[in-house]
Amino acid sequence: MTFRKYLVLAGVTVFAAAGDSMLSHGMKQIGSISLHHLLGVILALLNPWVAVGILLLLAFFASYMNALSWADLTYVLPATSIGYVLLALVAKFALHEQISLLRWLGIVLISGGVGFVAGGEALTSHGHHQSPPFAKGAQDGAAESEVASAVSSGAQR
């Protein structure tokens, strides 16, 4: 994991949370759109909150796909759920909303789950086109490197 990759994961989280909340803020300003007035959906794009929300969600999708190119789906998905935690914390500390005990429990569960995954390897599937150049030569020392990776993943925890 490089710094660049941590930035991408941070992007996945922040863009999703910010995009969702801007979109829902904008849609509440507009009010409900009925199925008989689909033109209303196009007018909704004129609302700046909606427009910026959509741009942020596009940025989310780009960073999500970027992350999936070098990490497992089961590694990236928990990261997206941190967005829920961010939204709850923003609601608490920026908007001074009350957070119920059940929601705090939800925050704890999500953070615990993400911590569990983050301690392990990012990529376990072998669908990759290019294998790193050092992979072949390292096979002799496979047993040693296994020990080494076990030690390092233990250290990450």
Binding site: S69, S81, H129
Partner: protein
């Protein structure tokens, strides 16, 4: 009877959202690490490689179907049930599907994580 409709709608949303995630993940695994391609050929190489993957377009389609069926389900179902149930079941479904179709090593650590996150999302979104 209303319960049956609501839960069928939830399962449809979850099904298409899992299919979409799996197809997109598969497409991006085939593309390979985009940071390497970016360093080698810049943005257009990356875009070209992604757009040459049929599973990318199938994945986008499945995600769109999931999104619109969620909107549909929300319009008559109970929001406090539909939204959290769909979100958290998607996490569980993705863990199963990633193991079967993407051959990811979903070990005990990842199962526990999927369960914790699914429970947490259900509590937060509810």
């Amino acid at each position: 009877m209303k319960h049956l409709y609501t839960w069928s709608a939830i399962l449809i949303v979850v099904f298409f959202s899992v299919v979409g995630d799996i197809l997109i993940a598969r497409a991006m695994k085939k593309v390979g690490d985009v940071h390497e391609w970016w360093d080698r050929g810049g943005l257009w190489t990356v875009v070209g490689r992604v757009l040459s993957r049929p599973s990318f377009f199938l994945g986008i389609t499945a995600m769109a179907v999931s999104f619109f069926s969620l909107l549909f389900a929300l319009s008559w179902g109970d929001v406090s049930l539909v939204a959290p149930a769909a979100a958290s079941l998607t996490f569980i479904g993705n863990a199963f599907a990633a193991k079967i179709f993407l051959h990811e090593k979903v070990d005990r650590r990842r199962w526990i994580a999927a369960m914790l996150v699914a429970a947490g999302v259900a509590l937060l979104a509810g």
